[in-house]
Symmetry: C2
DNA sequence: GGGAAAAGCTAACGGCGTTAGATTTTCTAA
DNA sequence: TTAGAAAATCTAACGCCGTTAGCTTTTCCC
């Protein structure tokens, strides 16, 4: 490892670091190429040796945020019964939105972060895909019939997005959002598991079988 | 009416008009004081005779958008049975997000519109309040027990927010979002009306009584 | 040790929101 | 009708922004 590249790497990391801290402290609107450069003790053009433009900096941060969110959802669900998957994933999602407001704003495209919509969409695809996996695992476990699961997946995802938005409103708060999410997930899952089977079999009104775990990845 | 004030009023309206059109055509990021001024044939400082600053222009547009959204939800629900209120209000919300993407972005705070969060929050309060009224009317009608209706209201609102976000993603689309919203509302309403009354009374499994209308306003 | 390559800086461009100050237009009142 | 007040409007400028060009210095490699 040349000393040169070592410094490069450190500077690269520092740029992202400082940008993240500035966003946390003063909001994404206050994050500026010139200010980042000043903070790390360089002149502004140096940033362009590491990133093509400002959006590239934000994009990198968004990718990290997304990976972080995904990891949290994954680990929340790992080694837990598939039946609880949706609840746990939802809680992890909201917990991320609460504890990492800056990164979450990047992920959800809030508050003029300046990241292009297509980029956000692509990043969100991973989270959506994971949500799909969780719901499918739940369905396989809970003996839900041949419903349109894609509906359930997208709906869950949309609900999370909406509730996270609610959570960041002072008057509502994340505790309440978490409470609401729990009910929403119950309602949605109940709706889908109640649909395919007409209430003619009073044997299993509440399928609560313990069962296989959700795998982390494909 | 002095000719002076007449011109003032026209200019005021023109500023908002041009700003709205520019946003529709090129996105809110492209809306600029200087460009607005050029478009209406004035120099930039003239704008400041009508608005304190750029945010004030956006704020006015946001207020209008909010009033428009509210009016659409109201008229969607008017003269319809309260039982259908939540479904109709949800559809109207999504329809607004589809047909007026620019204004809706303002309302929902998307894509760096530059409007302060507190302002958006205050504006959204009206829509939330109306949502509450619709849900309460539904509850009064559908013999739902003494559930915590606030949960239902906020959840509905959050779901709409989330689904509208989904709708504006190309790969999903508003038709699908509408479809999802219908299911979500059914699921949530079903959840809340099924909760308080334990299934011991097989007389009314699906309370579908036609009944009083939702009033437009208090 | 010398020459290529990388890293860094200053200066500048065009654009932004916004303000100050001068100038023109319009209204009002004697 | 006309002088003076008030309103409208303009040009210039300030300090910021993202970004690029071009030059100087440092570093590495042969």
């Amino acid at each position: 490892m040349g000393k040169r590249e070592e410094v490069r790497r450190r500077t690269f990391a520092e740029i992202l670091d400082v940008a993240g801290r500035m966003a946390e402290a003063e909001g994404w609107q206050a994050v500026t190429i010139r200010r980042i450069a000043a903070e790390i003790g360089y002149s502004a053009p140096v940033i362009y040796q590491h990133f093509a433009n400002k959006e590239a900096v934000l994009r990198k941060l968004l990718e990290r945020a997304n990976a972080d969110l995904l990891a949290r959802m994954r680990s929340a669900v790992a080694d837990e019964p598939a039946a609880r998957g949706p609840h746990l994933a939802a809680a992890a999602y909201l917990e991320f939105a609460r504890s990492q407001p800056g990164p979450y704003q990047l992920v959800s495209g809030g508050a003029g972060t300046g990241v292009d919509a297509a980029t956000r969409r692509a990043a969100a695809a991973e989270v959506l895909a994971f949500t799909r996996r969780v719901v499918h695992a739940w369905a396989a476990d809970s003996a839900a019939g041949p419903v349109d699961l894609d509906d359930a997946c997208d709906l869950l995802w949309g609900t999370l997005h909406g509730l996270a938005g609610i959570g960041s409103i002072e008057d509502v708060g994340f505790d309440r959002a978490l409470h609401l999410a729990e009910q929403a997930v119950s309602a949605l899952l109940g709706y889908w598991s109640a649909r395919p089977a007409p209430p003619a079999d009073p044997d299993a009104p509440h399928p609560h079988t313990h069962s296989p775990h959700v795998r982390g990845e494909k």
